[in-house]
């Protein structure tokens, strides 16, 4: 049993890590794009905002019939988690860059920074606390939503919970629920610490 819990907890972490990783790779550039093209950016934010409001079980439901990315299994779970993780990351990248003091940005341009240098040397470092906060939120939400992924055969700690509910077995439910709660709390504490560090940086 213990070995199972460890294995499934690992699987759970893997699902979330893959999803948040992909969301970071897609979301940060998308957030940057939104700051450069405010009109398109507003539309993009609106769309991912809408995705976020879809209840997670419904989103899994929608994805099941979609060819290639959907179906029953872990792939669907990861796709849904990516969609959920995008919003906090895109939004916080956008807000973080928008929040850079205009005088500082102005000074950067006036000193002769190219727009690429302005982005990498000034805007992104100053937006980093906000971006890390977005990653933290995405991770914590992801750990929670991933427990529901078991409903579509996505694996993870939800497997124990759903099975426990079906079998009216409290110990089985807790075998899923406790590690899931612990993971979320640990992720929150660790990423909050990272956040504080980049603020000092």
């Amino acid at each position: 049993m213990t070995a199972d819990i460890i294995r499934i907890t690992g699987e759970h972490m893997l699902i979330v890590a893959i999803a948040v990783g992909v969301a970071i790779v897609l979301g940060i550039p998308l957030g940057i794009y939104c700051t450069r093209n405010p009109r398109a950016g507003r539309v993009a934010l609106r769309v991912i905002d809408a995705i976020q409001t879809i209840p997670s079980l419904a989103l899994f439901g929608f994805l099941i019939p979609v060819p290639f990315i959907g179906g029953i299994g872990m792939r669907t779970a990861i796709v849904a988690l990516i969609l959920y993780s995008l919003l906090p990351i895109v939004r916080n990248t956008f807000v973080g860059i928008q929040g850079v003091d205009p005088i500082v940005r102005d000074a950067g341009v006036a000193l002769g920074l190219t727009s690429r240098q302005l982005l990498f040397d000034v805007e992104l470092p100053l937006a980093m606390p906000s971006i890390v906060a977005g990653i933290r939120i995405a991770t914590v939400i992801g750990i929670g939503v991933a427990t529901i992924a078991a409903a579509v055969g996505g694996g993870g700690l939800g497997t124990f919970i759903f099975r426990g509910v079906a079998m009216v077995d409290t110990r089985l439910i807790l075998a899923g629920a406790l590690p899931a709660a612990a993971l979320a709390l640990i992720a929150d504490v660790v990423l909050s610490a990272v956040e504080r560090r980049v603020i000092k940086g």
Binding site: D101, I103, V104, D106, A107, G108, V109, A110, L111, G112, L113, T114, Q117, V122, P125, L126, G201
Partner: protein
């Protein structure tokens, strides 16, 4: 090498209504006027932070439209109200910004930074490793001045550079600017007429997006224009 600056019939929507102005290489000019008169906009035209809707800006007789703006900005110092220091970088790294962009060697950067920092009265050994947020407003302003001057710019654009400074430091830096006059063409935006006359050879008075008068500093108080009279009266110049 100081650069010449020319604005030819420049208009900027809603802000400037036909400005023509020539500033010779090595001259120092103060832009004065009330808030919103067009001083800052005119200053920002010179390094391309503002683009004219009509007319053109020329640096060393070359239109800005045909100039590499990034290169121009690297040889123009720009000092702004509120300093605009990079909060995530140490004082030294802030001051080293332009020299690094220009690809200077680190020893040369250290020397130049050390010299400019001692000129503004903030020795590099004491302040170099500190971060902007640990400095007072006046100190931040002075570091902003050092950052703009470190690479020996050919144009120095200043927008209320001494706003946050106490009167003694203010006076010292005005002297520093006077000493610098032969090395750079200086354009200086200020509300303070006494300061304008102390730092600049020439005073340009802006009013509602136009130039109201443009005279040698010493002749400015002799102008009869009502706005000039108001400015002179408000400035309580030493007689």
């Amino acid at each position: 090498m100081p650069s010449s600056i020319e604005l030819r019939n420049v208009e900027v929507d809603g802000r400037l209504r036909g400005i023509s102005l020539r500033i010779d290489a090595g001259a120092s000019v103060a832009f004065v006027g009330r808030s919103g008169a067009g001083k800052t906009t005119s200053l920002r035209l010179i390094n391309g932070l503002v683009t004219p809707t009509r007319g053109e800006v020329l640096i060393d007789e070359v239109p800005l439209a045909r100039t590499d703006l990034v290169a121009l900005r690297r040889r123009s110092g720009y000092i702004i109200q509120g300093s605009g220091l990079f909060p995530h970088r140490s004082v030294f790294d802030n001051v080293a910004t332009v020299p690094r962009l220009l690809g200077w060697e680190e020893t040369r950067i250290k020397d130049a930074a050390g010299e400019v920092m001692s000129r503004i009265g903030m020795p590099l050994e004491r302040f170099g490793a500190r971060f902007p947020r640990s400095l007072s407003g006046g100190e931040q302003q002075r570091v902003g001045i050092a950052r703009a001057m470190v690479a020996g710019p050919s144009i120095l654009l200043c927008d209320e550079p001494f706003g946050a400074l106490d009167p003694i430091v203010r006076r010292e830096l005005q002297e520093t600017f006077r000493a610098l006059r032969s090395d750079a063409t200086i354009v200086f935006v200020t509300h303070d007429l006494a300061e304008a006359m102390r730092v600049a050879d020439r005073v340009v008075l802006f009013d509602d997006g136009r130039i109201a008068t443009d005279t040698a500093s010493a002749d400015f108080p002799k102008q009869t224009l009502p706005l000039v009279r108001q400015f002179v009266a408000a400035a309580s110049l030493p007689s």
